[in-house]
């Protein structure tokens, strides 16, 4: 049996989780970490523009540093993360420096790259596979505006790195469940057409890839959880047949039960009979769950078929700027006051010659988190709400103009406007999303190994 935990559901999750997991579960074999949401690569592209040594998730280096005491005490835990982003080599180099400077015992870092296909895609903008999958637009119109384009690799290159003795594997874009599939294949020696077993490991990966989302986080009945301040991070105990037990360390908060597992199973899926990954096509329709008590749920019955012959590609392009501002409004007719205040700020910008391209005014407290669906909230008696103004425009100066028209509402707006002391809001770049495909056979992942300290 192999124990695989997750210590990062997204970039921004708790940096303390990895060390905590190893401390709470010393016999854990692998820890996976996920740093790359759809827009993360764009943020890294900006970073790397300013400094070519960057372009990776710097938090990962601190996480590696936090594990050094455990490695020094003899822990054999291995780490697999897509923290490499646009510069996996740079990330590995920095990790190696930290490991050496803190006297860590010898370790091997495996680097997986080759997912960055920006120049390849820009060279052939008329390729029908490079059309935007959502809008069907051809790339030829927008190719030069692409800032990033990365293919989602599967588990194979990670397995190769592990087979070459890597203790830490740093990748660029990889399908999230593949971070879990790889150690299973490496450990059990499954063949790549053992589709049912790989499907089982993919389900385990899908369950743990979002960290605490399977151990009680964002669960419907969250208020019933015990010790929600200390929700344990998830561990999948994967068996040779691909089935697994989902659990978390003993004496941690949260819960692993039928409900939390089913919620995460249904998270971000489309057709449950055709869940696609670069390693396998999975059907969820024969899965069986058995709650064995004590925060242990057994998952069996995953069925797999060959994967698609294409890799999914995530591309991003710059598309103007956006900005948001918030003010609290208290008193009689709070919603109407908030709404009018928002309109006034926009009118002030209009007077200065900018007709903002996109404007969204929300009164939070009136049901505007899900606008239009909850008429019952819009009662005129409510005494409090938060005005939120969100705008987008290709002209940064138009947004900067608006950023100076928020504070004045505090003297010309309705009585009861408050909460203005956090300063002028700042415009941020917008990144459009360009999802497309590329034939898997056109790409070759690159595996490099760095030996840290003598072996």
């Amino acid at each position: 049996m192999i124990r695989i935990g997750n210590a990062q559901g997204f970039w921004g999750d708790r940096i303390t989780a990895a060390e905590q997991l190893v401390r709470q579960q010393p016999d854990i074999d692998y820890i996976t970490l996920d740093f790359l949401a759809e827009v993360s690569m764009s943020i890294l592209a900006i970073q790397r523009e300013k400094d070519p040594e960057m372009g990776y998730a710097a938090d990962f280096v601190e996480i590696i540093r936090s594990l050094i005491p455990h490695w020094k005490k003899g822990s054999k835990v291995k780490v697999i993360a897509n923290a490499g982003g646009l510069n996996p080599q740079g990330c590995a180099k920095r990790c190696a420096e930290v490991l050496m400077s803190e006297g860590c015992p010898p370790l091997r870092i495996g680097i997986v790259s080759g997912d960055n296909i920006l120049s390849m895609i820009q060279a052939k903008p008329d390729d029908p596979l490079f059309r935007n999958m959502d809008t069907t637009e051809p790339l030829s119109k927008g190719a030069k505006f692409l800032v990033t384009a990365n293919a989602y690799f599967g588990a194979k290159p990670i397995v190769e790195a592990l087979q070459q003795g890597a203790d830490i594997v740093i990748t660029g874009r990889v399908a999230d469940p593949s971070l879990t599939v790889a150690p299973c294949v490496a450990h059990y020696g499954w063949s790549w057409d053992d589709y049912d077993k790989i499907a089982g490991a993919t389900i385990a990966g899908h369950l743990i890839e979002c960290g605490t989302q399977v151990t009680g986080g964002i669960s419907t009945n969250w208020l019933d959880l015990s010790n929600p301040a200390n929700i344990g991070y998830p561990i999948a105990e994967v068996l040779e047949d691909g089935s697994c037990i989902l659990t978390k360390p003993k004496n941690t908060g949260g819960s692993v039960c039928e409900e939390t597992v089913k919620e995460q199973l249904l998270y971000e899926i489309g057709d449950p009979n055709n869940y696609l990954s670069p390693d396998v096509t999975v059907s969820f329709l024969s899965l069986q769950l058995k709650d064995e008590g004590s925060d242990r749920v057994r998952i069996t019955g995953a069925k797999g078929r060959p994967p698609p012959s294409t890799y999914k590609v995530s591309g991003t392009y710059k598309d103007g700027f956006k900005m948001e501002a918030m003010l609290a409004v208290f008193g009689r007719d709070a919603f109407r006051k908030a709404w009018l205040s928002g309109k006034i700020a926009i009118e002030h910008v209009r007077e200065q010659g900018f007709e903002l391209e996109h404007v969204n005014i929300e009164c939070l407290g009136s049901g505007d988190v899900v606008p239009g669906v909850f008429e019952e909230f819009c009662n005129g008696d409510a005494k409090e709400c938060v005005l939120r103004i969100a705008v987008a425009d290709h002209r940064k100066e138009a947004l900067e103009c608006l950023s100076k028209e928020i504070a004045p509402l505090v003297t010309c707006g309705p009585q009861g406007v408050t909460g203005y002391t956090s300063g002028r809001p700042k415009p941020r770049p917008i990144f459009g999303y360009w999802p497309c495909l590329i034939e898997a056979k056109r790409l070759k992942p690159v595996i490099e190994i760095i030996q840290v300290g003598s072996s």
Binding site: T220, N360, P371, F374, P435
Partner: protein, 117 residues
């Protein structure tokens, strides 16, 4: 048989997620009678109508009888989606809670068989 108005949250739990400009909402029954009720009554048309103010273009429903769950994919509900959206809930994190507030018409008898144990 007395019909009463209840809320979906009394007979099911949910989880929403995003994919570009689409979102999915998994709705999971507490009991097998609850699944039968959802299968019969929580239709694609019903869910589409409920979320029409958000601009949803189409709804697809998938059944997972082995889990007592329905998965709804809501096409276009997130508008521009992700980084481009100006909504506070650009990623549809609130949609699970939103669907659970849906009023349902259900007999008192059936309701008692659909609640969480």
């Amino acid at each position: 048989m007395t019909l009463e108005t209840a809320h979906l949250r009394e007979i099911a739990y949910a989880r929403s997620g995003d994919k570009g400009s689409n979102a999915n909402i998994g709705v999971i029954s507490y009991t097998s009678e609850g699944y039968a009720y959802l299968k019969e009554n929580l239709t694609e048309e019903h869910v589409k109508e409920y979320f029409l103010p958000l601009g949803v273009k189409d709804v697809m429903r998938y059944e997972l009888p082995n889990l007592g769950a329905l998965n709804f994919v809501l096409i276009g509900i997130l508008g521009e989606g992700g980084s481009r959206s100006l909504r506070i809930d650009a990623q549809g994190k609130a949609l699970g809670q939103a669907i659970l507030e849906m009023p349902i018409l259900i007999s008192t008898e059936t309701l008692s068989h659909c609640r969480k144990n």
